[in-house]
């Protein structure tokens, strides 16, 4: 048995968060605040390191233009000022303009154009029936779902079109069903990671201790362990 501080800490963190499944409690709350503190500290460390590498180092090497993004970066902190709040919008404008420009480029080329070309080139001569069915499912699904989102928001559909709008809803339900299955796989993967740590390392020795502590906690919560006052 080699219960190092690292293993004990990791096991304590795991059980403390799982204690929320019974009820919110002070131990869970404490570890929640610890997590927020470390996360914020960590992201600050990484950002400062990134600023040092990308801006300070070239500035000190003689590239004076890098003073501009550094000044813009500090201007962001006028967010906290009441009188000069509007200065915060100037570096934000740089971020927003860059983001929008890059976003429009990517959306137009990769998503709209390339995906439409992929839809058209789904069908080839001599393809097997399974690929043909899949291709039909993709084309019918993508066109009907796109029509549903773009044309049913502003205009109320009537008659045959209204009934036909059931088809994209069915495709959306099938999509969400597949997404649900994948979300189940993802979240149980995270849980599996914790269980692999608990069962396959020396942390296995903390399991009976945790069960004992949980049991005492539950009994105390239900009132079985209170000392009666005379």
């Amino acid at each position: 048995m080699n219960l190092t501080l690292a293993i004990l800490l990791e096991a304590a963190c795991t059980f403390a968060i799982w204690s929320y499944l019974y009820k919110e409690n002070p131990v869970y709350r404490l570890f929640e605040y610890v997590f927020i503190g470390i996360s914020v500290g960590h992201i600050l460390v990484m950002s400062i390191s990134s600023i040092n590498g990308s801006a300070i180092v070239p500035l000190l090497a003689g590239n004076v233009l890098y003073i501009i993004p550094i000044i813009l970066g500090f201007t962001l902190y006028f967010y906290f000022s009441r009188s000069f709040y509007y200065l915060y919008r100037i570096p934000m404008a740089l971020l927003v303009g860059t983001g929008v420009g890059l976003g429009i480029r990517g959306a137009a080329h990769s998503t709209i154009i390339n995906q439409t070309i992929a839809n058209i080139s789904l069908f080839k001569l001599g393809m097997d029936w399974l690929s043909l069915l899949k291709g039909l499912a993709i084309v019918v699904g993508s066109v009907s779902v796109l029509y549903y989102f773009i044309f049913t928001y502003y205009v109320e559909q009537k008659g045959v079109i209204k009934n036909a709008m059931r088809l994209p809803r069915y495709f959306i339900m099938l999509t969400f069903g597949a997404l649900l299955a994948n979300v189940v796989m993802v979240r149980t993967s995270y849980l599996s990671g914790r269980l692999i740590f608990l069962w396959t390392t020396d942390a296995i020795y903390t399991i009976p201790i945790a069960i004992a502590i949980f049991s005492i906690g539950i009994l105390y919560d239900k009132g079985f362990l209170h000392i009666k006052k005379k």
Binding site: M46, N52, S110, S189, S192, L195, T200
Partner: protein, 265 residues
């Protein structure tokens, strides 16, 4: 039975069910999906000694699922004797995971600066990916430990995305790479995923913007199998057998009880 008591019983039975594979280990072989096989074949088709970019981009939250996939990419790149750079564009947590991965693999014959470089973290996701692809040295001045990259022989060979032969994206969502790197440079990219982004990324794989795609932990286990070892992803899939059977059983039993109550009323 009270709703809260029922909920707690379900949680308890769920954790017991997921602990069973550790008490009664089962080892069901995993068949390989076409998208995973395509990813493997794509890496095999790139000539040895080429330059690869391995992207580690996941938070501590999605590490159990994405880290095994990124590690498999790293091992495959070393097996193919690629020179590689490691980058992170979204989650700063992944820098430490990349260091952990480099410490866990056998780098015999690899020299830092000449054969591999860990470049570290560049915030901004799509913005930093675009900046990197356009002009690497305009964005990157130092490596992950703060050392200058100017004199590194490998970095002298990489000026832009055009100098990288293959992109191994160990990220939970590689869409920014597709929009900012594939579209302008027609780059060869294979991607990891976490299960929930697999579906949306599949359309990019189907349109051949991604040459290969791994389906979360399952894809990681498949890729590990192709490389000939059983890592964390395989261990996770052993637990998934029990969890998925539990979920399907819960849905079926829940609906049976619901319809029987409806009939009685």
């Amino acid at each position: 039975m009270e709703a809260s008591t029922l909920r707690k019983l379900i949680h308890l039975s769920f954790i017991v069910a997921l602990s069973l594979p550790f008490i009664f280990p089962i080892n069901i072989p995993i068949s390989v999906n076409k998208s995973t096989q395509d990813a493997y074949n794509t890496v095999e088709s790139i000539p040895e000694g080429s330059i690869a970019l391995i992207n580690f981009d996941f938070s501590t939250q999605s590490a159990p699922e994405v880290y095994p996939q990124a590690l498999a990419f790293l091992k495959h790149a070393i097996r193919r004797h690629f020179k590689f750079v490691i980058t992170t564009f979204e989650s700063p947590d992944a820098v430490l995971y990349a260091k952990q991965a480099l410490a866990s693999v056998d780098l015999t014959g690899y020299k830092y600066g000449k054969d591999y470089v860990h470049l570290g973290y560049f915030p901004g996701k799509e913005t930093s990916i675009s900046a990197f692809g356009r002009d690497v040295h305009g964005l990157v001045k130092t490596d992950a430990d703060g050392s200058s990259i100017v004199d590194m022989p490998l970095m002298q060979q990489i000026q832009s995305a055009k100098d990288i032969s293959i992109w191994l994206i160990g990220s939970y969502n590689s869409q920014p790479f597709i929009t900012q790197i594939y579209a302008p440079y027609n780059a060869i990219m294979i991607s990891a995923s976490d299960g929930s982004s697999y579906q949306s990324l599949y359309t990019y794989y189907q349109s051949k913007q991604l040459k290969g795609l791994l389906n979360g932990a399952r894809g990681g286990a498949e890729y590990e199998g192709l490389l000939g070892y059983a890592g964390q992803a395989k261990a996770i899939m052993n637990v998934q057998n029990f969890s998925h059977v539990f979920f399907i059983g819960a849905i079926v039993i829940g609906n049976i009880i619901y319809f029987r109550r409806g009939k009685k009323q």
